[in-house]
């Protein structure tokens, strides 16, 4: 296998760049295994976004010849560049996973240009032809899983009011809100989704207040897009509402209230990436996938989910698995009455237009600004 040889060369180069010649001997000896660096924006056991990535990293640790280094709570600033450089220069990392959205531009791009022989795999960014070839962006179409959650939620709600605790109105979040709502309206055309933005990725008190306010408004099924769904799940369950999870399976937190959830499946993707590199295959710079590609998955249904809901959700899931289902299929109007996807236009999952989403569909109560 020539992977080791490549990584040794990278190490030498990285070291030379910093003129740390004296330590070269030690590094050369250590280069027999490949070091993969993971960088998280928050705590890696947050029952949410970062934990999902850390589970993926844990899956890599089981592979022979792979060493994983991790750093958590790295802010989306220059700090991530320092972390990347130290992972490269001190730990000898040759493959890096900076996992937070805001790392990509300019930090990851800058580092990819500086270390052209190393591989950078960024989660969530939008790689374009102008970006360095050794950088890549991967992401999952988790809106497919949110759509399934929405169908289950639409069948389960009694009040017809769903709630969504969201962090910030960025395209990925809006896409989840919209997919959840479209799914719910498939089951119950009168269903509405009330959205509350908390303003940041981790604001436990705000999230708890948002949860309570939504339930006070008559909402009886909640979901969220924040880094740690634990607060929402536990507080909603305590008030007797049902929940759909996000990022990872939160059913242990509220077994009676948990309907289903949209989960990442990084523990399937990351080993795949590493095997592709080892086999000498190129990872596409722009890597996307949904349920079919096993990048996202749906939590097992909770006991409260009716047989009817299970069947409807499973039917759509089967269509996703065979790759012939479109969520954003025209005509779709936004919640101000403007047509955003014209009749006859199908925006398939790969459509880059969807990654620029700046509207909330009809049925969502809330505004993007």
């Amino acid at each position: 296998m020539d992977f080791g040889r490549i990584s040794r060369r990278h190490l030498l180069q990285g070291s030379a760049a910093l003129a740390l010649g004296s330590t070269l001997g030690v590094r050369g000896a250590a280069a027999a295994e490949t070091t993969v660096g993971f960088i998280y924006v928050g705590s890696r056991d947050d029952y949410g976004y970062n934990q999902a990535h850390a589970q993926g990293a844990a899956a890599l640790k089981k592979l022979p010849g792979i060493k994983v280094v991790e750093e958590e709570k790295v802010p989306e600033t220059d700090a991530v560049e320092k972390t990347i450089e130290s992972m490269i220069n001190l730990d000898g990392a040759t493959l890096l996973f900076p996992t937070s959205f805001g790392y990509y531009n300019p930090h990851v791009l800058k580092m990819a240009a500086k270390f052209p022989k190393l591989r950078f795999e960024h989660c969530g960014g939008l790689w374009t032809d102008k970006d360095p070839k050794n950088a890549g962006s991967y992401f999952g179409y988790i809106d497919e899983a949110q759509y399934i959650s929405g169908i289950v939620a639409g069948y389960s709600t009694k009040s017809g009011k769903l709630g969504f605790v969201a962090a910030k109105p960025i395209p990925q979040v809006l896409r989840n809100i919209n997919a959840f709502t479209l799914g719910a309206r498939l089951a119950n055309p009168k269903a509405t989704t009330q959205v509350i933005f908390t303003g940041d990725w981790s604001m436990p008190v705000k999230e708890a207040e948002a949860t309570n306010s939504l339930i006070d408004q008559g909402v009886d099924v909640l979901t969220c897009h924040v880094d740690g769904p634990k607060t929402m799940v536990e507080n909603a369950a305590r008030r007797g509402a049902m929940v759909c999870g996000y990022h990872v399976n939160q059913s242990p937190l509220a077994p009676k209230a948990y309907l289903t959830g949209a989960e990442w499946n990084w523990e399937a993707l990351y080993p795949k990436f590493v095997k592709m590199i080892v086999a000498g295959e190129a990872i596409p710079n722009f890597y996307r996938g949904g349920l079919k590609e096993e990048i996202v998955k749906v939590s097992p249904y909770g006991e409260m989910v009716s047989a009817e809901a299970r069947k409807a959700a499973d039917d759509v899931k089967a269509k996703f698995m065979s790759g012939d289902y479109t969520i954003f299929k025209g005509p779709i109007a936004d919640n101000k009455g403007k047509t955003v996807i014209a009749s006859g236009t199908d925006r398939g999952q790969q459509d880059p237009e969807l990654e620029k989403m700046d509207y909330l569909v009809e049925g969502v109560i809330g505004a993007t600004a």
Binding site: G42, S43, D45, D46, Y47, K73, K158, S159, K161, Q194, V195, I196, F197, T198, G199, S202, M203, P204, V205, K206, E207, A208, E209, A210, N212, S213, L214, I215, D216, Q217, G218, D220, G228, K230, T231, E234, N235, R238, R239, G240, A241, P252, L253, I365, G366, A367, A369
Partner: protein, 308 residues
């Protein structure tokens, strides 16, 4: 579950409910800091104490199964942090504000370090007392599910007010805060008074932290406090070192925190960042209104390093 929604009535109700739910940590930290500052010292480290309290309460509750033991552990942790602050500050030429900042960083860092394995498990929570039994509106019932700690905090405020005014201990603390020389002339050790005052302040702040992790929002994670401790320290200045005003200020801050989400839930969606900033705008406004260049802050203990 409620089928009937209350429409716009949700907003005042949420602010009222939020005042009760969110205010407790503010209340405990500000009352604790009130005692400490009245004795002539500022403990800025209460943010760290709050986070340490939250973590240790959650950990002890998880390990022992008893949330009340967790509350006690949080109080003791807080008192130890208070003792550390007072101990360092009793050395000559030590600045209490600098020590406070150091302890704030130490407390949060230590809590994150020790609290790593506690993020996933679910610990036993504090129970709530249902004061809403008379109402058949579920929203009102939910808002009136009140934790005992809140009631204790509300009871401590007038008690403290009375104690400062009429008891020997209150007088001693005030003397140490107003004039260390006078306290010394009376034959009391200023350092000892301040040590005790800081420990009691830390004890209360620790309990405030236990409310965060064991009742509302009710779990341990690293974003839990998000600056509530430091806000509460500022509240004391804002409340002019008066325990009763601390109570009202804490309630106002709690209510203001609920305003942003509540307005969004009834469909007032524009400018939610502004509503989220409401507590801080409130602080600035009151500070500006009550400030005067012609006199120093009324009620400020004369020995405080910021007034001296």
């Amino acid at each position: 579950m409620a089928d009937a929604s209350l429409g716009l009535w949700t907003v005042p109700l949420a602010v009222f409910g939020g005042a009760i739910r969110v205010s407790t940590p503010f209340l405990f930290v500000s009352l604790g800091e009130c005692i400490t500052e009245r004795s002539g010292r500022i403990n800025l480290g209460l943010e760290g104490t709050l986070v340490m309290g939250a973590m240790s309460a959650y950990g002890i509750s998880y390990l022992s199964g008893s949330p009340w033991l967790g509350v006690l552990a949080a109080g003791i942790t807080g008192a130890l942090f208070g003792a550390l602050h007072a101990g360092i500050c009793s050395l000559p030429r030590v600045n209490d504000i600098a020590v406070g900042i150091a302890l704030m960083l130490l407390g949060t860092g230590l809590a994150f370090f020790l609290g790593k394995p506690l993020i996933e498990p679910t610990a036993a929570r504090l129970p709530a007392i249902d004061f809403g039994w008379w109402s058949d509106v579920p929203q009102v019932r939910a808002a009136l599910r009140i934790n005992v700690l809140f009631l204790i905090g509300v009871a401590i405020a007038p008690l403290l007010y009375w104690a400062f005014k009429t008891t020997r201990w209150g007088l001693l603390i005030r003397t140490a805060g107003e004039s260390a020389d006078a306290a010394r002339a009376m034959g009391h050790s200023v350092l000892l008074i301040r040590l005790r005052a800081t420990m009691v302040g830390g004890f209360l702040a620790g309990i405030g932290g236990s409310f965060l992790s064991l009742f509302y929002p009710g779990s341990w994670n690293e974003g839990l406090s998000s600056g509530q401790g430091i806000t509460a320290v500022a509240l004391v200045i804002f409340a002019r070192w008066d325990p009763m005003l601390c109570l009202w200020a804490s309630l106002a801050f709690g209510g203001a925190a609920a305003l942003g989400p509540a307005l969004q839930s009834v469909g007032i969606t524009s400018g939610y960042h502004l509503f989220n900033a409401a507590p801080y705008i409130l602080t600035l406004a009151i500070m500006i209104i009550t400030c005067s260049p012609k006199r120093t802050l009324t009620g400020a203990p004369a020995e405080l390093s910021i007034t001296r």
